[in-house]
């Protein structure tokens, strides 16, 4: 390793021109990445993370311009390069991997063509280029590269596509690799694979890495040093360990507190939140940018912009009171009223539910023989990779999709008709949903008042004055105000939109609300507020949730029971604590192991090979045997295991006896002190 810096940003300022005015996006960012170093850049959306990446390769959108400072790549000033030199620099020394590999690859060219093209640019042609491409695919651990070369991007899974994108980025042996949210949108199991790959490549290559992510845990696992960006300013920097274990800026402190950590559960207290909003781009900032949202802020913070204080050991913090940052008071009180566990009869009882689609003439069993029960005020967490049938199951409950004949859904002891149209008004309003994407879920042509009034009219059966009174209550219960009623959804931020969607679901006093990844599109601070809101509403109204999420920390926080689905089958079902603490099904074990942990205490590393098989052609025997790290033999391939009770209320679908699972998984569940 040399002392030369791979990337050096000096006082970089970038502005976007909007409405004939330059609006500052980055403000005097200083950042240095040493050769061979992995640097993580974190912050909520709108902080300017991606703008940093785009500035480095001078790919800013047309209305963006660098208004000050300098960028040096490998010691060369990027700002001074002419078009040809810039092209050379992009071709030779810097590569970028984007969030969505599906969009980064050309859909109409074979993988092989796209890869060899890069080598041809470097002057290698014909067979030599092809050999290099195969070597590149081998390097990103793609088995059978020859066949992958022949395929088109759409024929590869998301994880494979991202590997190919990484292979392309590495093809020119760059000195600087920029990864912009490379695993966002991938399943946890695939994310783990891609992160492992990046980790391994780091050891093999000399490239420096700029790793951009909103996921603090991912950054903590991948990077040596980390910078926290807020409102286009670097507010804290230091070694990853220091920043995450001993943060010195209130914003970092607050961000870390928003995450449900260490198996925190809703009955142990509320999550902390960050009040207020990020200053809009181009906002005129006097004093500290975070002062408005910071409980520690004093007059000095509002008047005098804090410099980047040097705290020694390469640590920097842009806070006047960096020594007190960790004493930041909570924005949300943790206390909650203790609720006594109830033994009410189940509100929902599902027996033997099946859903078969026809796929090219073959039956595709999206949901197979699912039985669950749920009490009032409980949350059932649905966990599994995409394609495991979580959403189909939710749609069956809602009646949006009709199940196969045979199974039954009972709501408060009464049979629910399979189709929504044949359910009674009371049953319809009793089962509602909060969708993943509020932009799709809220009609963009209607005002918030229209959306909620209509829900109250149809679901609550209200009209006139009573409707208005109830509307006011409803709006307050999700912590919106009258002011929000007049606007259209697009005028609200993501978190506020999701509150409207929650209010709509609660308009008719539902018994069950399906929450389909309700926080996956939100920043962590907003996510915490939404999770708190859901927990509060639940404890107040005794409503039950079916909670779908790929984020196991979030599921664990909110759920009382967990159902782990794989290819439409329940692999494990039981009380949340039992499922998480184990012994668990090998699939659950693998899912848990795939979650990046903030404290880097990786006790077990179980990686699933390949991707989830097609439900149209499921493996024989135990459907998980093709990927199971604990497969015991032929029985797994020939005979489908029954869902057997391991402990009261905790069932596991596995041939390995419970005691044996406990023995196998024992060393791995040691929690760090």
């Amino acid at each position: 390793m040399t002392d030369k810096n791979a990337l050096e940003l000096k006082d970089l300022s970038v502005a976007y021109r909007v409405g004939r005015r330059n609006r500052a996006v980055l403000r005097n960012v200083n950042l240095t990445i040493k050769a061979g170093e992995a640097y993580g850049l974190v912050g909520e959306s709108g902080c300017g993370k991606s703008t940093v990446a785009l500035s480095v390769v001078r790919y800013l959108p047309r209305n963006g311009s660098i208004t000050g400072g300098s960028i040096a790549l490998d010691g060369k000033d990027v700002m001074k390069l002419d078009a040809e030199a810039l092209r050379r620099a992009r071709a030779d020394s810097v590569s970028m991997v984007y969030q969505d590999p599906g969009k980064a690859l050309n859909p109409s060219l074979r993988i092989g063509r796209q890869l060899t093209e890069i080598f041809e640019l470097a002057g290698v042609t014909g067979q030599a280029a092809e050999d290099k491409a195969v070597a590149m695919l081998n390097r990103v651990r793609i088995s059978d590269p020859a066949s992958v070369m022949q395929r088109y991007p759409h024929q590869l899974s998301g994880g494979m596509q991202q590997r190919v994108a990484i292979a392309m980025a590495l093809a020119n042996d760059p000195s600087m690799l920029i990864l912009d949210e490379p695993t966002t949108g991938l399943d946890a199991t695939v994310e783990a694979e891609v992160l492992d790959l990046i980790g391994q490549l780091r050891r093999e290559l000399s490239a420096s890495i700029l790793f951009i992510s909103h996921n603090l845990a991912v950054v903590s696992n991948m990077c040596d040093r980390v910078g926290v960006l807020y409102a286009g300013m670097l507010v804290e920097e230091g070694s990853t360990k220091d920043v995450f274990n001993d943060p010195r800026h209130p914003y970092t402190v607050a961000l870390l507190r928003c995450l449900p950590r260490g198996g925190q559960r809703k009955d142990q207290g509320r999550l902390d939140t960050i009040p207020g909003f990020l200053p809009g781009i181009g906002a005129n900032i006097v004093g500290c940018a975070f002062a408005d949202r910071c409980a520690l802020a004093t007059e000095r913070c509002r008047a005098e912009p804090p410099p980047l204080y040097e705290l020694g050991d390469g640590r920097l913090s842009r806070c006047h009171y960096h020594d007190k940052a960790q004493s930041l008071p909570r924005a949300t009180p943790a206390e909650i009223a203790a609720t006594a566990p109830k033994q009410a009869p189940p509100v929902l009882q599902v027996e033997g539910l099946n859903k078969t689609y026809a796929s090219h003439g073959r039956p595709l069993r999206a949901v197979k023989d699912v039985s669950v029960s749920l009490r009032p005020g409980e949350t059932l967490g649905l966990v599994g990779e995409s394609g495991s049938g979580k959403t189909t199951f939710a749609r069956l409950l809602l009646g949006l999709v009709a199940p196969d004949d045979g199974g039954s859904i009972e709501l408060e002891g009464k049979q629910l008709a399979p189709r929504l149209a044949s359910r009674s008004e009371d049953q319809v309003k009793a089962v509602q949903i909060v969708f993943q994407n509020p932009d799709s879920a809220l009609n963009r042509s209607h005002s918030i008042r229209h959306i909620l009034s209509r829900a109250l009219k149809r679901l609550g059966g209200l009209s006139g004055k009573t409707l208005d009174t109830r509307l006011e209550e409803l709006v307050r219960s999700v912590r919106l105000t009258d002011r929000h009623l007049a606007v259209k959804p697009r005028q609200l931020s993501g978190g506020l939109k999701q509150r409207v969607a929650i209010a709509r679901a609660f308009a008719g006093d539902p018994r069950i609300v399906v929450c389909d990844e309700p926080t996956s599109a939100l920043d962590v601070s907003v996510q915490a507020a939404i999770l708190n809101l859901l927990a509060d509403l639940q404890s107040r109204q005794d409503v039950s949730y079916i909670f779908i999420s790929h984020d196991l920390g979030v599921v664990r926080y909110l759920s009382d029971k967990i159902a782990v689905l794989y290819l439409g089958r329940i692999m494990e079902f039981g009380p949340s604590e039992a499922v998480f603490s184990g012994p668990h099904h090998p699939y659950t074990e693998a899912l848990l192991s795939a979650v990046p942990k903030l404290d880097r205490t990786e006790s077990s590393r179980i990686r699933l090979d390949g991707e989830i098989p097609s439900a149209a052609n499921p493996p024989t025997g135990c459907v998980f045997h093709t990927r199971c790290p604990r497969k015991i033999g032929a029985i797994c391939e020939t005979q489908e295991p029954e869902l057997t009770e391991a402990q009261p209320g905790h069932t596991i679908r596995c041939h390995i006896p419970y005691a044996e699972l406990a023995r196998l998984q024992k060393p791995k569940i040691v929690e760090p002190a």
Binding site: A283, V428, A441, N443, R458, R483, Q491
Partner: protein
């Protein structure tokens, strides 16, 4: 309830103080007001609208008054565009001739839009067998030239402006229905439609209250495009004698009664009417281009 959470207690929701402040329609208007294409088209269109509304008050001659002595005089100071075979002032006729076409074509387009939108919403929303059958019928319908349909209708119903409006309106409706259908197909997959189902909303409410407002932009674009075609269709039908009837100074009609004169060198009896049709169609198409651009930026 304790204020355990924050957004409510904070000033104004987040939108950045930029173009996001404008409503979507405000943004479209803003974009239109800066589009040269749209403004040029609008200028041409407005010119003809003014002629249609007030032309008869400022034209130098009565467009219907014939003066056999002065027949077929070439353009000159007292007859700017010359006179036709009956000695009628061509300039006055061109100006006032915009009136019928600018009544019939827009009305036909509005009829096509209303019928096409309703049809498109229904087949896009219900899909399945309804869509299969109706779509095939529409395709068959679209395969027949407007002129043939007009001929049949006029034989059956007799010539009148109403017949022309109905014929053009109904023959354009399938095209608009197809545009609306594809917009509705995308829209109905959005979760707000599922949310409406989960309120037991009826199909009519879902189609017209939930979905319709969101498919207005493509409908508006298609409508302006159709207006251009409608103008052309009206002129064609009039030229063939199935459209607007004499003694109207309508452009298509004038061309058809004078085009035999071109051979004799009396070009002015046809040229100015033809230019009028062309300019109106171009104007409407420029407007359509501008509207399309404003919605798709």
């Amino acid at each position: 309830m304790s204020a355990t959470d924050t957004p409510a207690s904070l000033p104004a929701p987040a939108p950045a103080p930029d173009t996001a402040q404008r409503s979507p329609w405000g943004e479209v208007l803003h974009s239109l007001s800066r589009s040269g294409t749209f403004l040029t088209g609008l200028f041409i269109l407005l010119f003809w609208v003014v002629c249609a509304l007030f032309g008869q008050h400022f034209v130098p001659y009565d467009p219907l008054a014939s003066d056999i002595i002065d027949a077929l005089t070439p353009p000159a100071a007292d007859h700017w565009f010359g006179t036709d075979q009956l000695g009628r002032d061509v300039f006055s006729r061109v100006i006032v001739g915009s009136r019928d076409i600018l009544t019939v074509a827009p009305l036909a387009t509005i009829l096509a839009t209303i019928a096409g939108t309703a049809l498109g919403l229904v087949i896009g929303y219900f899909r399945g067998i309804v869509d299969d059958i109706v779509s095939r019928v529409l395709e068959a319908f679209m395969a027949i030239p407007v002129v043939i349909i007009a001929l049949l209708a006029i034989v059956a119903l007799g010539t009148s402006k109403i017949t022309v409006i109905v014929v053009i309106g109904l023959s354009f409706a399938p095209i608009i229905a197809r545009t609306v259908r594809s917009a509705v197909l995308a829209e109905r997959e959005l979760d707000y439609v599922a949310a409406a189902k989960l309120r037991h909303e009826g199909a009519l409410h879902t189609m017209f209250v939930e979905i319709l407002p969101n498919v207005i932009p493509p409908i508006l674009v298609e409508t302006t495009v159709r207006l251009g075609y409608a103008i052309f269709a009206v002129a064609t039908l009039s030229f063939m004698g199935f459209g607007i009837q004499p003694p109207s100074p309508d452009w298509g009609l004038s061309i058809s009664s004078n085009y035999g004169m071109i051979g004799g060198g009396f070009w002015w009896t046809v040229l100015f009417d033809a230019l009028a049709i062309a300019s109106l169609v171009i104007g409407v198409n420029l407007v359509a281009d501008g509207v399309h651009g404003a919605f798709n930026d």
